[in-house]
Structures are given as C-alpha cells and as structure tokens.
Symmetry: C2
Subunit: 138 residues, 2 copies
Amino acid sequence: MSRTVPLMLRLSAADPRPITKQIIDGVRRLIASGELHAGDQLPSVRGLAKQLTVNPNTIAKAYGELVSQGWLDSRQGLGLFVAAPRQRLSEAERKRRLQLAIDAFVAEVVGLDYSMQDVLKRIETELAPMLDGRKRRA
Amino acid sequence: MSRTVPLMLRLSAADPRPITKQIIDGVRRLIASGELHAGDQLPSVRGLAKQLTVNPNTIAKAYGELVSQGWLDSRQGLGLFVAAPRQRLSEAERKRRLQLAIDAFVAEVVGLDYSMQDVLKRIETELAPMLDGRKRRA
DNA sequence: AACTCTGTACTACTACAAATAGTACAGTAC
DNA sequence: GTACTGTACTATTTGTAGTAGTACAGAGTT
C-alpha cells in the first residue's frame, strides 16, 4: 500500500505554536489517526513549502525531526515516506514526556472551572481516534 | 485568615516553560490546591526575586498577570494578596483555553504508546487536588 | 549525457520574545 | 525621614523562529 497524498494540513496564525511544531504535530496526528499509512509518500519539502507558503527550510526542519523520531523514513532522491510503526523513544523519555504533558495540561486547566468529569470526557473524545488508528508501535 | 507565607516555589532549568510562566503556573497551582488561602500575603516582588535569583522585573510581570487574571489583589504600598475566588474569564475564553490545552496535550501524548486508561488515570490523579482545594469560583 | 525531480547542509539576515539591569515614582507604616 | 511595598519606564543582551539564498548528492526520465 503506497500512495502519494496531498497532506491535509492547515497552519493557523491563531495557534501559539511555532510553524515547525504545528507541522510536526499535524503529521504525527495524521499518522496516529490512520489517515496516513506506512509506506505513503509525503509531499516534497519544496512542494509542501509552496502549499503552505512557508520557507522550505521550515518544512525540512519539521520533516527532519519526524525522521529522527521514527515517524518518517527518508530516501535520498526519492522522498519521505511514512515509516512502519516502531518506538524510538526510551522508556525514560516516554515517561518524562508524559509527565511534562500532564503538568502543562493541569497548569492550563486549573482555574477554568471545569469538573473532573467534563475534562476527562473531553480528553477521551479527542484522544480516542489517535490511539486505535494504527497498530501498536513496537 | 491572613498569613504571610514563604511561597514554596522552585524554578527548573529543565522546564521548557519561560520563568514568568513557571511562576504564574506555580502560584496558580498553590492557590487552586488550597496551599494558599484568600487573604494570604505573597512575598514581595524584590523578596521573591532574591529568593529565586531572578530579576525583579520578571516577578513583577508574573504577579501582574496573576492580578489581571483575578488570582491576586494588589494594594499599593502594602503588597499582593490572594484574591477571593472569582472567575474573570468569559465563557468563550474558558472554552477556548480548554480546547487549546486539550489539543496541545493530545499532540504531545500521541505516539507515546500509553493506553487511554493509563492517561486518564494519570490526569485524574494530578488534577484532583487542584479542583477541590478551594471553593468553586463564582 | 542532460534534465529534473528528490532530501540535505550550509551561511546570512531579520524579527521577536524573554530576561536582565538600572532608574524612578507613588503609596503605606514606623 | 526611612524603609518598606507595587508599578512603570528605557536600554541591553540573549536565544529561537523563520526567511532567503546557495550548493550538493541521489534517483528517475528522456
């Protein structure tokens, strides 16, 4: 199964995250949710740069990060492809990242006056499509 | 009930958040968890700056933000005090912030290979002390 | 071989945010 | 007055994000 997809990605100026992070998160989300499958080819660095009207360097940086995290495989002269599911982060690093994410989330939500039930329900709704979209990463 | 507390706050160089945000989140957490009560006096701008070995301007900025968010009240010449519980954010703003927090959290957690149950349990554990530490904000 | 696509690696420059440093001023208490 | 409080400035430094431009190597097509 190998396709070339137009990559449904939107950048938002309202989003406080830097462009590079928006792209990284966006691609990761598309893969995790199963909208992109292992072997699929991604838009070229220059192509996506033109599509999103950002600098090619910015795309290259985001792609490079995704490669080093094991989400993409790069083949010189050919392009970038969605990698087979695998886990490149150490157990300690995974644990550390989860802790950071939870701390940041709690810090943001404190004082917003939402009940525990509301918060958990929302998390569940948004997270569910990301967890079963692709096989469990080895 | 009015106390002057030494403010148990630690800054971490490992924490990716800027100093100002670490202080804002830290104070908000102390209030939400009930470690600081309405009326309690906070360390002075210069005092906390010395304690944390950061610039007084940085503390003043953090305190200023907390005042504008309604967490603290300022009395010229006297100091800063924990405000009575109230909600200064509009319904739309609260909703927006929750959405941003959830989006950011999901983006970080995707690919870490944690089960839904694990994630929800962790959130519940860390968030619980923040929700019942003080009366519901009007 | 020539051409054109791919990723990758640089340097240089600009823009912006965070933090520091220093000064100054107004309000409160002793 | 003196010594604390918060607050408001300006100036400077530092680090990061993004843009701009160039260059090079690998792969496929003609």
